[in-house]
Symmetry: C2
């Protein structure tokens, strides 16, 4: 029976059974599964591209935007990248079995904490078909079964990709239900997935506001939020302004559509008149809006609203505020920031120390671009998302963040008195 015909509850039961096998599978077996899946993705590139053409055609007929179509569209090089991604995850060290720490109690009881898989991971995502293989690779490598719930617009591509992944896992001698594609793509079924407590050990929603809001409202399963990045660059009075301009330009313009791009620029009043015109001169094409003091320096820019400072533009737009001091910058970030990535440009040791300690965010950056906040750039290997919550994982999430921990106690008959 094709797993695609099963109910969500049936799929959940299958995922749980598979997860018990996968939890104790050796790294060699899991790596072989990913290697075989990579080869099958390559061998079946034709079928995958054909299915993708249908998805793109259907989406086009429904009037999808150019951006949406671009995200959805595969080509031979993107299929090759999926295979390469599977192989690169196979090459990463296996986090499972790591002993975090261990000690002996006075009564001789030996205690250790061991890294273990979560069990079943659910991923709800939108219309990038490569997430199907990327997420599956990270989950399988970390010993988890995965329930993948992509969008309806990607369904034909995803079915082909998932089929290759399942076959690869099966060929390696692991349960093919380690990778399950949820083909029921209604909103109701997404909510059903969010409420499969006892089945899904961790849900990772990868999508926009509406999806995240729905998870927060509806989920009864544990989840990790990959939330907004309303990221700031603060230029301190002591900053090297050449360096500051380069960092601002990079943080805003290098790839404006991503969560670690900067959305607001805060400038110390002492250097605003010098810095702002120089920054503006380097940012052709960027719409700048500012507070009263920024507008007084930058002729002709629009006035920033309260909402502008609270918005993740994900576009060539930048909100600018002039602040009196470091405290005002930290307060502004505390008010409007989303706890993602916050940067300071400064030559002052005390300002750097205070900013890194007092700004409450997943990542604080001194004298570098916010764009480095990324699993690959930080050297974590592949990432399954960037957590903006404080529990479990914070910042870029790699294989380690797809694991839990287990206490193991060993004795020789110790009892408590």
């Amino acid at each position: 029976m094709d797993s695609n015909d099963l109910t969500l509850a049936d799929q959940g039961a299958r995922a749980r059974r598979a997860s018990r096998v996968l939890a104790t599978a050796t790294s060699s077996l899991k790596d072989a599964a990913l290697q075989r899946a990579a080869r099958l993705i390559e061998e079946r590139a034709g079928e995958i591209l054909l299915a993708n053409e249908k998805d793109v055609r259907d989406a086009g007929e429904r009037g999808a935007t150019r951006t949406a179509l671009d995200r959805l569209r595969l080509d031979p090089s993107r299929v090759q990248s999926m295979a390469a991604g599977l192989r690169s995850v196979a090459a990463l060290p296996d986090p499972v079995g790591e002993i975090l720490d261990g000690w002996v109690r006075p009564n001789g009881l030996r205690v250790r904490r061991v890294r273990v898989p979560l069990g079943v991971v659910g991923v709800i995502y939108e219309n990038r078909p490569n997430v199907t293989s990327d997420a599956a690779a990270l989950c399988v490598k970390s010993g988890n079964a995965v329930m993948l719930r992509g969008s309806s617009s990607t369904i034909n591509s995803n079915m082909q990709i998932a089929s290759a992944l399942r076959e690869g896992v099966r060929q390696a001698g692991l349960p093919e239900d380690s990778v399950l594609l949820v083909t029921e793509t209604s909103r109701e079924s997404a909510v059903e997935l969010m409420r499969m407590r006892g089945v899904i050990d961790c849900l990772i929603p990868r999508g926009g506001h509406d999806l995240v809001a729905s998870v927060i409202e509806n989920a009864t399963v544990p989840y990790v939020i990959d939330g907004d990045g309303n990221c700031h660059v603060y230029v301190d009075a002591s900053a090297d302004l050449d360096r500051a301009v380069e960092i601002i330009v990079n943080a805003k313009m290098q790839r404006p559509s991503v969560c670690n791009a900067a959305e607001s620029l805060l400038v110390h009043a002492d250097v605003a008149a010098d810095l702002l015109p120089r920054a503006r001169a380097r940012m052709a094409g960027v719409e700048m809006v500012g507070d009263a003091r920024a507008c007084a320096i930058l002729d002709g820019i629009g006035r920033a609203t309260e909402k502008d400072f609270a918005t993740e533009f994900l576009d060539l737009k930048l909100a600018v505020a002039v602040v009196d001091d470091l405290d005002a910058a930290i307060d502004h970030i505390a008010t409007y920031g989303t706890g993602h990535s916050e940067a300071i440009v400064t030559e002052d040791l005390e300002a750097a120390r205070r900013f890194t300690q007092e700004v409450d965010a997943a990542c604080v950056v001194v004298n570098a671009s916010t764009r480095f906040v990324d699993g690959g750039e930080l050297g974590l290997g592949a990432e399954i998302g960037i957590s903006t919550q404080k529990l479990h994982a914070r910042g870029p999430m790699g294989l380690r963040e797809l694991t839990s921990v287990k206490f193991v106690l060993e004795g020789e008959g110790q009892i408590r008195t």
Copy 2:
């Protein structure tokens, strides 16, 4: 204005402001706050006991059970224990600022992961007034503001205790709103607390099924569940039966009302006829119920229902099943266990290895009593609960589990290309 007259939203705003100060407070300051609070608890023992007398009298008039009254009642030695608890938490190492790891990227960017406080912790608990000071101590020490929401039956005791805690924190020069008692104790206000997203960074419900179910259904804030402990002891064919009997008796009888007590006994068929009568002989006062094979060995015990195997009795009752092998024991635990603490008694290396690897629980125990699954017994210092979830914290939670992590990136103008 007394903090008790504020709305929950006002209290939340105060807690957030306090949390920003507390987040960067030195260990010396935080320890001084706990030391001063301890002294104030002692100095005000008279007022605390008087308030507690009123709570006990009121609860008695409402027909509270003897157990409930016992939990609620303070006496001079219990007040002294609260002060001692504050001092012992002050003596623990401060987890904040610990560098978990750090490395340098090829472009010279320096990366480190630093332990930071969560921010504001919410604790919803029932009628033990000592939780007020125990939870506050752990939160303040780990740099978190805390919103304490005890039950209405403990309100007079809690107000006195919280007042001493707030005064102690204030005397040490930290914001008194680091410790806030929520005096509105309706069910609606509990749900309101569960939905203060953006205010509460971590909610810890310490209570029974109804409270946990309400959190799972209603909470929009992140939470850690301290859930049921339907713990098993499995006696393998190879077990030292003398040792097995001692462990069973200890796990069931030493303190039956707690989550790490055993609720079910699984015995390998090869040793059941030998072990079960010996175990029963040592467990006078324990009601045993069994499956068909256990009943055939133990004359006169009741037949265990499906529900018995799924129940955390928290009482002198034990469900017994005879299993064919280790696989059957592991399957039984996977079916009925709650992922808390599971023990095996065995002399067989392979059985011990398989049990520790394949049983999915916060704690797996080889040849010792499940009663050791406790923060104090394992050497973690005080504990704020035992997590039965897999995200963030699993097993006994101490100071470390009341923290998050922050990436700090330091460069000299690095930009992404």
